[in-house]
C-alpha cells in the first residue's frame, strides 16, 4: 500500500540546508497499524507530510497504491488526499464556524458527492464515533476528545485507504486520550490501515508494529 524507497527530504532555509529525512525505506501493508515514534525534530512530521501527499520528497520513490506520486500535479494530489487519505491532527484542525455535521461533510463536498449520499454517510459515521447527539454543535462547544472524534469522523467519511494520525492524543487528557486510542484500535480491527505518529513511547502499548525515527533516519 505504501512503498517508500530511499526517501530524502532537504529543506532550504536561507543558506542553510536542513536534511529532514535521509534514506528512509518504509513499507506499509493494507490493514497495518503502524506507529512511528520519535522525539520532536526527528523528521516524523516531514515523513507524515510526504506520506499524506502534502509534500514531495527531494529524492527517492514514494508509491501509494502502486502509483508514484512524483509525477502527479497538484490537482491529482488534492484528489488523492481527498479520497485515499484521512488526516487526524494533534490540534484537530476543524473549521471553527462549521458545525460537527458540516465539518464531516466537507470532504464529501470536495469530492462532489450528492446530497442524499452525503447525509447518509455523515450520519452513519457520526453514529460510529458516538457523536450523533452533537451534530449541530460548533467546535468551541465540544470537549477536546469530542473534537478529535469529529476529526476522525472527517478522516473516515470518504472511506480512505489510509488514516494518518499526527499526535492524535497530544492535546488530550489521559482519559480522552485513552478513549481516542481505543477508537483507533477498533477502526484497525475493522480493517482500516492506520499510521500514527507520536513522540509518546507509551503508544507502543496499543500496537506491536512500530518504528522509531531519530535524526531523519529509521532505527531498527
Amino acid at each position: 500500500m505504501i512503498k517508500m524507497e530511499n526517501i530524502r527530504k532537504v529543506y532550504n532555509t536561507g543558506k542553510v540546508e536542513v536534511e529532514a529525512l535521509r534514506n528512509v525505506d518504509l513499507h506499509v501493508k493494507r490493514g497495518d497499524f503502524l506507529t512511528v515514534i520519535g522525539p520532536s525534530g526527528s523528521g516524523k512530521s516531514t515523513l507524515m507530510n510526504i506520506m499524506g501527499c502534502l509534500d514531495k520528497p527531494t529524492s527517492g520513490n514514494y508509491a501509494l497504491n502502486g502509483l508514484n506520486i512524483k509525477d502527479m500535479d497538484d490537482n491529482t494530489l488534492s484528489e488523492l488526499r481527498n479520497k485515499e487519505i484521512g488526516f487526524v491532527f494533534q490540534n484537530f484542525n476543524l473549521l471553527p464556524y462549521a458545525s460537527t455535521y458540516e465539518n464531516v461533510e466537507m470532504p464529501l463536498l470536495f469530492a462532489g458527492v450528492s446530497g442524499k449520499i452525503r447525509r447518509e454517510k455523515v450520519t452513519s459515521i457520526l453514529n460510529k464515533v458516538g457523536l450523533s447527539d452533537r451534530m449541530h454543535h460548533r467546535p468551541n462547544e465540544l470537549s477536546g476528545g469530542q473534537k478529535q472524534r469529529v476529526a476522525i469522523a472527517r478522516a473516515l467519511v470518504n472511506s480512505p485507504n489510509i488514516i494518518l494520525a499526527d499526535e492524535p492524543t497530544g492535546n488530550l487528557d489521559t482519559q480522552s486520550g485513552a478513549e481516542i486510542m481505543q477508537l483507533f484500535v477498533d477502526l484497525w480491527k475493522e480493517g482500516n490501515t492506520i499510521i500514527m505518529i507520536t513522540h509518546d513511547p507509551r503508544a507502543k502499548e496499543y500496537t506491536d508494529n512500530f518504528i522509531t525515527i531519530t535524526d531523519g533516519t529509521i532505527q531498527a
Binding site: 488526499r81 481527498n82 476543524l94 463536498l109
Partner: protein, 430 residues
C-alpha cells in the same frame, strides 16, 4: 449531459458553502457592501442626471425649433453688378415658395411677420403683447407650437380665407382669460375681433427672439398683411430634411436669393442665419463630454470602493490561512480556493451593486414624480432641467459591467494569493 448537471450541482453546493463562510464576517462585509452600494449609487445618479440634463437642454433648444434655420435679411458687403455695398436685403413672403421650389432639401418653410404692442382684450382684461403672422401650415412642427387638447393650430383654410383666428401662447392666454376654456372665444386685438382656435401646450424654450412663444399669439400671414399692410417678412424659417445637410442648404439659400436680390453669391453679409441645427449639434457634443466626465467620476468612486473590497479580501486571506490549509489537506484543489475568493468578491460587489442600483432607481423615480405643472416650479428652468433624470438600460448595463470587472479584479489578486499558500505551513499558522 449528466456530467454537466452534476457540475452545475457541485458549483451550487460550493456557492452555498461560500455564503456560509461569508456570514461569519458580517460586519466587515456589511461595510464593504455599503461602499460598493455607495459607488454604484453615485455612478448611476451622476449618469442619469447627466443624461437628463442633456435631454432637457436639447428639448429646450427644440422649444425654439426642431432642426430649423432662422434666416434674416442683411446688408451687402460686396459691390455687385454696379450695385453699391451696404445695400439692405429685405425678405418677402414669396421667397418662401422660391426657396422651397429651388431647394429640394427644404422640408418646410414659413415667413414670419411681427407686430409689437398689440392690445389684447377679453372681457374687462387688457394685455399688451406681440402678435405674429405666419405664412404656412407646418409652422407648428418647426417651432414646436403644439395645441393643447380641444384646440388646433392655424390651418390652410385660415390662411387662404384670411380668417381672423389666433393661436395663443399658454401664458398669454392665462394672463388674458384665466382658466376659461379659450377655444371658440372671441378676443379683441386692437379692437378687431379674433376667434381663438387653439392654445399652445407648455414647452421649455431656451432660445428665443422677441420673447417666449408662450407669451405671444400667432395669426395667418394673410390676415396679418390685411391688418398691418407689411410688405417684408421679419424672417424666414426653414426645416431641412437631413440635419447633416444644413450647411449645404444654407449655401444654396444664399445662391438662390442672390439671383433674385442681385447680390454677390459669396457675400456672407447679405443674409444672416441662426442655425439652430448646428447649435444643437454642438450642445449634444458638449453634453456627451459632460456625461463622459460624470461617468468617469462615478467609475472612480466605484474603483475606490472596489479597492476596499480587495483590501478586505486580502485581510480575509490572512485570517483564513489555516482554514485554507485544512481544506487543502482534506482535498480542496487550488482552483476551488481561488474560486471561493473570486465568488465572495463578486457576491459582495453584486449585492452592493444591486442595493446601490435599487436606491438610485428609487431616488430617480421619486425625483421624476415631483409634479412639474405647478406654476412657480414650471417657470424655474434650473429645477426643470435637474428634475428630469433618466434611468436608462445603457446606464444600468454599463454599471453592471463595471461592477463585474471591479468584482473580478478585487477578488482575483487575493484569490491568487490564497491559492498559493503552502498547506503544510498553513496548518501550523496561528
Amino acid at each position: 449531459m449528466a456530467e454537466t448537471i452534476n457540475n452545475i450541482f457541485k458549483t451550487l453546493l460550493l456557492v452555498k458553502l461560500f455564503i456560509r463562510e461569508l456570514k461569519k464576517e458580517r460586519r466587515k462585509i456589511f461595510l464593504t457592501i455599503a461602499g460598493i452600494a455607495w459607488g454604484t449609487l453615485t455612478i448611476i445618479l451622476l449618469l442619469s442626471f447627466g443624461q437628463g440634463l442633456t435631454t432637457q437642454m436639447l428639448r429646450g433648444q427644440k422649444g425654439l425649433g426642431d432642426n430649423i434655420v432662422i434666416l434674416y435679411g442683411g446688408q451687402t458687403s460686396i459691390e455687385y453688378k454696379g450695385l453699391p455695398q451696404g445695400r439692405r436685403i429685405r425678405l418677402m413672403e414669396e421667397d418662401c415658395d422660391l426657396l422651397k421650389n429651388s431647394i429640394p432639401e427644404i422640408d418646410r418653410i414659413a415667413g414670419e411677420y411681427d407686430a409689437w404692442g398689440i392690445t389684447y382684450k377679453y372681457g374687462e382684461t387688457v394685455v399688451n403683447e406681440r402678435v405674429r403672422g405666419v405664412s404656412s401650415v407646418g409652422y407648428e412642427d418647426m417651432r414646436s407650437q403644439f395645441p393643447q387638447p380641444g384646440g388646433r393650430f392655424l390651418n390652410e383654410n385660415d390662411m387662404l380665407a384670411r380668417r381672423r383666428v389666433i393661436f395663443m401662447g399658454c401664458d398669454l392666454k392665462k394672463k388674458l382669460m384665466g382658466d376659461v376654456d379659450a377655444v371658440g372665444k372671441t378676443v379683441l386685438l386692437n379692437n378687431i375681433p379674433f376667434t381663438v382656435v387653439g392654445v399652445m401646450q407648455k414647452k421649455m424654450q431656451m432660445g428665443m427672439y422677441g420673447g417666449p412663444d408662450a407669451e405671444a399669439a400667432v395669426m395667418p400671414a394673410s390676415t396679418f398683411r390685411g391688418i398691418f399692410s407689411d410688405v417684408y417678412v421679419d424672417r424666414i424659417i426653414y426645416q431641412v430634411n437631413d440635419i447633416d445637410k444644413s450647411k449645404y442648404v444654407n449655401q444654396q439659400v444664399r445662391r438662390v436669393l442672390a439671383r433674385k436680390y442681385r447680390y454677390h453669391p459669396d457675400d456672407n453679409n447679405a443674409l444672416n442665419y441662426w442655425d439652430v441645427i448646428e447649435g444643437s449639434k454642438q450642445t449634444r457634443k458638449a453634453f456627451t463630454g459632460i456625461t463622459i466626465f460624470l461617468g468617469v467620476i462615478g467609475a472612480m468612486t466605484l474603483i475606490i470602493a472596489s479597492i476596499g473590497v480587495a483590501n478586505i479580501m486580502y485581510i480575509t486571506v490572512k485570517k483564513r490561512t489555516r482554514e485554507i490549509g485544512i481544506k487543502r489537506a482534506i482535498g480542496a484543489k487550488r482552483s476551488l480556493i481561488k474560486i471561493q475568493f473570486i465568488i465572495e468578491a463578486l457576491l459582495i460587489d453584486l449585492t452592493g451593486g444591486f442595493i446601490g442600483g435599487a436606491v438610485a432607481y428609487t431616488i430617480i423615480r421619486l425625483v421624476e414624480s415631483i409634479p412639474q405643472d405647478n406654476a412657480d416650479f414650471g417657470k424655474n428652468m434650473a429645477m426643470q432641467i435637474l428634475s428630469n433624470p433618466e434611468f436608462s438600460w445603457t446606464i444600468a448595463i454599463s454599471t453592471c459591467v463595471i461592477l463585474g470587472l471591479v468584482g473580478l479584479l478585487s477578488g482575483f489578486f487575493p484569490a491568487r494569493k490564497a491559492a498559493a499558500i503552502d498547506p503544510i505551513k498553513a496548518l501550523h499558522y496561528e
